[in-house]
């Protein structure tokens, strides 16, 4: 190995490269360049949640998007009788709480880690900061969120009716 490669290896950060690779695999950041993903790595904060630890509770004001790197997170909602009802279990690579990036509104479900889980948080004001300094990152993320919102609305409304001339 040459001295230049050794120097590059001494300077390079393998943990950063791993985080970058993980973020590149997510749909939410599809279309961002390597440099932009690098900027994004620094806008995210990582936290490990123990099994049973609550990430947020239904009714809390949402302020961040959560991306699950490892582990499992369960989403529950209180039913009419006040009992928690499981609505979804998230797997690594999935994200939740994304509407907090658009509006500070009460969470519509409770998120609980069911096993040791590593989560990355993208805080709303960090994204606002990126929108100012790196507008392309903000535009890509917001565009993905808008499409996600649209597809959820479509699903909530049900399938499109058949055309009259069909």
């Amino acid at each position: 190995m040459g001295p230049l490669k050794l120097f590059k290896r001494w300077l390079g950060d393998p943990a950063f490269a791993r985080k970058k690779q993980f973020l590149r695999s997510l749909d939410l950041f599809d279309g961002l360049s390597a440099g932009e993903i690098g900027e994004l790595v620094h806008a995210l904060h990582a936290r490990t949640y123990r099994p049973g630890e609550v990430v947020f509770v239904e009714g809390d004001i949402g302020r961040a998007l959560f991306i699950l790197e490892t582990g499992r997170v369960e989403l529950t909602r209180l039913d009419a009788s006040g009992k928690p009802e499981r609505i979804h279990t998230l797997k690594p690579g999935e994200f939740f709480g994304e509407m907090a990036l658009l509006e500070s509104l009460p969470r519509t479900a409770t998120a609980t880690a069911t096993e040791t889980s590593r989560l990355h948080l993208l805080y709303r004001s960090k994204l606002d900061g990126l929108l100012q300094s790196q507008p392309r990152i903000g535009v890509v993320v917001m565009s993905h969120l808008a499409r996600l919102l649209s597809s959820r609305l479509r699903r909530a409304r049900g399938p499109a009716p058949a055309r009259a001339d069909d």
Partner: protein, 360 residues
């Protein structure tokens, strides 16, 4: 494990925080280098983060940065050493002459004022004698007051040394704090940290830009006007510019006095005063809008109050950190209000007439 009720901060936690703050106040002298080092690391941290975002490890980047800064300092030292030595020697040689000239001006001014004041000559003379004596005492105390700032200069080595560790470990330390925060408070903790960072970071980084700009403008302006000891006065103005308004005020007094003594002309002193007024306006018009754009805006009266309280409690260091501390307090108040308003529904959500149009 489900958490329904959000526990209120316990009285013991509040008491512990108050005790820690009081202990920090009592030990403020010992904590000075650590506080300065934290500010130093905080200001330089974005440079390390910039390279981290390019995939470099933080530690080698900081080590290389320190080596570059060391090389630059050595080069700058050798570049300005002849001028600094010459001006220093000149200042020491001429100090007795400056003192005599100042006393002569005071005597002439006093005689002229005695006849102009609408008071009996004896009363006017007594009052002016007392005023001149007080001014001269303050002038004699000036070197010892300036020497009082010297311990801060002794931190010139200690601050970068401690700052190295702050720079190296700050991101890990922040992640550890986030990890230690109760899970349901993580979002709030990040909100608070982001708002403080916005308010404080831009202010502190802007302060350095202002100090360098005022120092450079002072040196160039005084050199063009032919005023002696331009480098020493520029350094003094640049360093004291970290306290709002102080750099320009010192420039007017010291630069004006120097011009008055050197040229024996009020017009020359007037030109120096005009120079500093122009520097102040340029700072206000060109620099402050850029610096204040992303930081918390404080009312000038709040600025002044913060400076008076900071100076009274912590001396020169209090003057330097008074405005940043006020910025942090304002950010905390804004975040607290934002939480309260969103939790209680005082802050309405996004509403648009277009929301009533069916999804198509």
């Amino acid at each position: 494990m489900t958490e329904r009720a959000r526990p209120a901060p316990s009285a013991s936690a509040l008491l512990l925080s108050a005790a820690l703050l009081f202990a920090a106040y009592r030990a403020r002298t010992a904590l000075t280098p650590f506080l300065l080092a934290a500010a130093f690391a905080y200001v330089l941290s974005p440079v390390a983060t910039f390279f981290e975002a390019k995939g470099f490890r933080r530690l080698p980047v900081i080590v290389l940065g320190y080596l570059c800064a060391l090389a630059f300092t050595a080069a700058a030292y050798y570049a300005i050493k002849p001028l600094a030595v010459e001006q220093g020697r000149h200042l020491l040689d001429r100090a007795p002459a400056y003192s005599r000239a100042l006393q002569a001006y005071a005597a002439v001014g006093e005689t002229s004022l005695v006849h102009r004041l609408p008071l009996p000559a004896r009363v006017s003379r007594q009052a002016l004698d007392a005023a001149v004596a007080a001014a001269m005492t303050r002038l004699q105390d000036a070197p010892s007051s300036l020497l009082g700032v010297l311990p801060l200069l002794a931190h010139a080595v200690l601050v970068p040394f401690i700052g190295f560790f702050f720079l190296k470990d700050s991101t890990d330390g922040f992640e550890a704090l986030i990890q230690a925060a109760p899970s349901r408070y993580v979002e709030q903790a990040l909100h608070l940290a982001a708002e403080i960072d916005t308010a404080l970071g831009n202010y502190l980084r802007g302060l350095i830009v202002v100090a360098v700009a005022i120092g450079t403008a002072t040196f160039l302006g005084l050199t063009l006007l032919g005023v002696e000891n331009a480098l020493a006065i520029a350094l003094l103005c640049g360093v004291t510019s970290v306290v709002p308004y102080l750099g320009v005020a010192i420039g007017i007094v010291v630069g004006g006095a120097m011009a008055l003594i050197q040229f024996s002309s009020l017009a020359a002193a007037g030109k120096v005063v005009l120079l500093f007024v122009a520097i102040r306006f340029a700072d206000e018009i060109l620099l402050q809008p850029v610096i204040a754009r992303h930081s918390v805006h404080l009312h000038p009266m709040v600025n002044l109050l913060a400076l008076v309280v900071g100076g009274e409690m912590f001396g020169f260091l209090g003057l330097v950190f008074a405005v940043p501390a006020a910025c942090v307090l304002k950010a905390v108040a804004q975040v607290s209000w934002s939480w309260y308003a969103t939790e209680t529904g005082l802050q309405p959500g996004y509403a648009s007439d277009a929301a009533g149009i069916p999804y198509t």
